[in-house]
């Protein structure tokens, strides 16, 4: 895998021109230079779907992209892919929280929490549901959902704890595998629309026109195809794509937050010069589209999310945290056009990785409205925070 990644890098070391990148194939240039293509896309595929996808409301987008036409199915795959990524991050976070909770409670008075089965805290317990019999009747719901790719059954039970014993206190324990299964469901739905069984075979996705790339982290179709072929994890698609290399970004220094911030600044400069050039060359209508939809800001955030996922997969929490804090639009408080739900999920995962459970809870808070099923993860993360705080004396100050 690593060799392939390096090959990718060497293959396309084209030096960026002084006046900023020229990527005529990219969806940014396509929309801004020829607004007509964008309008045509909105005619070909349902408009509400793209409005919802722009507003990061992937579930409405998925339902809106309804129809046999391959372009619509590719668009629907985009929505399913987004939801898959959110649940994938939340799923792995929930398992890590479960594991940390068991190791911490073992050190505390009263021993490990007898209620929650320890083996479920194993690293891949939820991945293949092999040893998950402790889930009891939930297990069948999981298996059914994964086969039929229908999450409704699972979602209904999401807010009810798996087990609640009355004495001594109401001990509740939530199903840690919920998000992993939901991720499987949505990935399956996306692959069905792309007539593939694994992401590396889903190169049909790259055959599409604008619908495969609009608002995405990958800039153009060849970018998408190369990333798919590189068999990278779906979350980090486009993190290493050649097109973005053309933006002249410095190489990654693993684990160094300051280098990551320098990378973000380089990205900002490249995007600024590119946007200013486009603003001059592109028709007025294109420029207004960019202004209203914030296309450059959208690409910036999506790419940084992919880049942060790559850092997280390599276990570099502080590096990912630097990227995510730079990716966040602090003026918008909740999930919306300015901030993707993936940002908050990744922010929670990165903060948890950096030992900041309480701040991870802060990051999950905006997700509780669009993803009510996150209740289980938030309660368990709350348990862990309280557990680690039991041996501490509180400190409070004014202002």
């Amino acid at each position: 895998m690593r060799l392939l990644a390096v090959l990718l890098l060497v293959g396309c070391g084209s030096a960026p021109e002084a006046t900023g990148p020229t990527l005529p194939e990219s969806w940014l240039e396509a929309v801004i230079r020829e607004p007509a293509r964008f309008e045509q896309l909105l005619v070909q595929t349902p408009r509400e779907g793209w409005v919802a996808l722009h507003a990061h409301d992937a579930t409405t987008a998925y339902d809106a992209f309804d129809g046999p036409n391959p372009a619509v199915r590719r668009a629907r795959a985009r929505a399913a892919w987004e939801l898959g990524r959110v649940h994938e991050v939340l799923g792995s976070l929930h398992v890590e929280v479960e594991r940390a909770y068991h190791t911490e409670s073992a050190k505390r008075p009263g021993g490990a929490d007898a209620e929650a089965p320890a083996h479920l805290a194993a690293a891949n317990a939820c991945e293949d549901l092999a040893g998950a019999d402790a889930l009891g009747e939930r297990l069948s719901a999981h298996r059914a959902a994964r086969e039929s790719a229908d999450p409704t059954a699972l979602l209904e039970q999401a807010s009810r704890p798996v087990q609640r014993s009355s004495e001594p206190a109401a001990h509740t324990w939530f199903d840690p595998c919920l998000h992993t299964s939901l991720a499987h469901v949505w990935d399956q739905r996306a692959l069905v629309d792309l007539d593939a069984t694994r992401w590396s075979e889903a190169s049909a996705w790259a055959d599409g026109e604008l619908e495969s790339t609009l608002f995405a982290a990958w800039l153009d179709r060849t970018d998408l195809r190369r990333t798919l072929d590189a068999e990278r994890s779906p979350g980090s698609f486009a993190a290493m794509s050649p097109a973005t290399r053309a933006l002249g970004l410095p190489d990654r220094v693993p684990g160094d937050p300051d280098a990551a911030r320098a990378e973000v600044r380089a990205l900002d400069e490249a995007l600024d010069t590119w946007r200013e050039r486009l603003a001059i060359e592109a028709p007025a209508e294109g420029a207004t589209l960019q202004g209203e939809l914030g296309l450059f800001a959208r690409f910036r955030q999506e790419w940084l999310l992919a880049r942060a996922t790559w850092a997280l997969e390599e276990g570099e929490a502080l590096e990912a945290l630097a990227l995510l804090e730079a990716a966040r639009d602090v003026t918008a408080r909740d999930v919306g056009p300015a901030n993707s739900p993936r940002l908050f999920a990744l922010l929670a995962a990165a903060r948890f990785g950096a030992g900041r459970e309480r701040e991870a809870l802060d990051a999950l808070h905006p997700l509780s409205e669009p993803f009510p099923e996150i209740l289980g993860l938030r309660e368990r993360l709350g348990d862990l925070t309280v557990l680690r705080g039991l041996t501490r004396t509180g400190d409070s100050k004014e202002n």
């Binding site: 911030r261 003026t331 701040e359 100050k397």
Partner: protein, 505 residues
């Protein structure tokens, strides 16, 4: 001749301090800390400054778990009722004296001393007795079984040789020449309320920035201007209004710094007419909190003493909606009648003397908006703004107020016992509810996290129901740091804990 004389005179005689050699890190605070003495720390700005000058036996590492600082290790006894702490050799105080076990014993005694009335007493409650074994070893005996005592030994250690006895007075001379073992010593208290800290040469560890200057800039929008002018390197709290400009600026990096803080209007519960709960509830129902929040920025309204993302926040307790009709019922039930345009009882109009901190801009806006709202509802509001010293005297010690507007900040354990327990040291409004006391005590002793969550959510519900305060909101709070400062990692509460690693290019 006279003209020629002028420039020389101006330049020569009046230029005071020489140019400083090293480039200092300059950070701004709304209020300069009046007292630099960890025994009496009451505000966040004091806690942040103490982090630079003083150290504890243990401190937080980058993953927020305890790591030795002045201690080298700790051996917990078999029965978990006592522990022997070994201290780091070769550590000197900033006045050259050497750090010994005597200092640890003195600090704990000073904090526990009744007459000192230290605000940090709650943090050493768990230690029953401190015994000095030799210069570098001390034995702590605990009140109860302790599982990770190092988590509770983060309080700042003070130099015994700088005090006469363990009964320390607030006006003790230590406040103006603080001596710690930390990376920076206080070089100068300047007259424009700024404090210059210089690197402590014999520090037992390394630190990269030579000088840190704390400047008091009360005017919030001048603060963010100064950062853009590059006259400051760091702003501890940025107003939500300035987030957009600072986020777009390429020279500044934004770091979240929430400190679990929430704003409140706290009533004096044992002073008529605010001892009557109906009056307090009526006032709560007359206030439109969203309209109060709008001028100062974005945040989230809370319905109780926790921030909404806290594990202890009770989401069943809904935030109060303005309801003038119910408020009128409650006031009439409490014996008030609306004569003319003011509610009054036996001739006296219902007046709320609202006390707030002086030249704290956001507080001033909230007070003005609150007065305008209540005035239009028939309640007279008389705002008084106090300076820091007066605020401490009037609010903390004499508790002489009708209502205060302020903000509490909490670390990760969000322990509200000091604020709402009837014997809590920070319970200025004399709130007392036996059930809440019982719940808080149980929550302190339990070792089951889920039980603690349930207990404190119950506290949330009960306190919200008693209306000792109008719970306002938690603001989106960020700190902005210039990009010339490298390797920046901020502690979620004490901010400067890892400033040793920061570098200034």
């Amino acid at each position: 001749m006279r003209r020629h004389l002028m420039p020389w005179m101006l330049g020569g005689a009046l230029l005071l301090a020489g140019a400083t050699t090293a480039e200092p890190l300059r950070y701004a605070e709304d209020r300069a800390p009046p007292i630099v003495n960890p025994l009496f720390t009451t505000t966040m700005s004091e806690a942040r400054l103490a982090e630079l000058v003083f150290e504890g036996l243990f401190t937080d590492d980058a993953k927020l778990s305890s790591t030795p600082r002045l201690a080298t290790g700790l051996d917990l006894a078999e029965d978990r009722m006592s522990a022997v702490v070994r201290l780091k050799p070769g550590v000197t105080w900033q006045d050259g004296e050497s750090f010994t076990a005597e200092d640890v014993a003195f600090t704990v005694a000073a904090m526990k001393e009744e007459s000192t009335a230290s605000t940090e007493r709650g943090r050493v409650q768990f230690i029953q007795e401190v015994e000095v074994i030799d210069d570098l070893t001390v034995k702590l005996t605990f009140e109860r079984e302790e599982y990770a005592p190092e988590d509770k030994l983060h309080f700042k250690v003070l130099p015994a040789h700088r005090f006469e006895g363990t009964a320390v007075k607030r006006s003790d001379a230590f406040r103006t020449q603080p001596i710690g073992t930390g990376p920076y010593r206080v070089k100068r208290f300047n007259d424009d309320n700024s404090i210059t800290l210089a690197k402590f040469d014999q520090y037992h560890d390394s630190t990269r920035i030579d000088e840190i200057t704390m400047r008091e800039v009360a005017d919030k929008n001048y603060q963010s201007k100064l950062l853009l002018y590059e006259s400051l390197e760091a702003l501890v709290r940025v107003l939500p209004r300035d987030l957009a400009t600072l986020q777009a600026d390429r020279k500044v990096e934004l770091y979240p710094y929430q400190t679990n803080s929430w704003w409140y209007v706290g009533f004096q519960n044992n002073r008529a007419p605010f001892d009557d709960e109906r009056v307090r509830e009526a006032l709560t129902l007359l206030v439109d909190i969203d309209a109060l929040l709008a001028p100062i920025g974005t945040g989230e309204v809370v319905s109780g003493p926790f921030v909404t993302s806290s594990p202890y926040y009770n989401h069943e307790v809904k935030r109060p909606k303005p309801d003038a009709r119910k408020a009128a019922e409650l006031l009439t039930a409490a014996g008030f009648a609306k004569s003319g345009d003011y509610w009054s009882r036996d001739g006296k109009p219902l007046t709320l003397k609202l006390t707030a901190q002086e030249n704290l801009e956001t507080a001033q806006d909230v007070v003005i908006a609150l007065q305008s709202q209540l005035q239009s509802q028939g309640i007279k509001v008389e705002p008084t703004f106090l300076g820091t010293a007066e605020w401490k005297a009037k609010v903390w010690r004499e508790r002489d107020f009708d209502a205060v507007l302020s903000q509490w900040s909490f670390d990760r354990s969000e322990d509200v016992t000091e604020q709402f327990h009837s014997e809590g040291k920070f319970n200025f409004g004399h709130y007392a509810n036996a059930e809440v006391d019982a719940l808080l005590d149980q929550a302190k002793d339990t070792s089951d996290p889920q039980a603690k969550k349930a207990l404190l959510r119950e506290v949330h519900a009960k306190v919200a129901d008693d209306h000792p305060m109008i719970f306002l909101w938690t603001l989106d709070s960020y700190s902005a740091i210039s990009r010339r400062v490298r390797k920046v990692v901020i502690h979620p509460f004490y901010f400067f804990t890892w400033s040793r690693e920061w570098e200034l290019k």
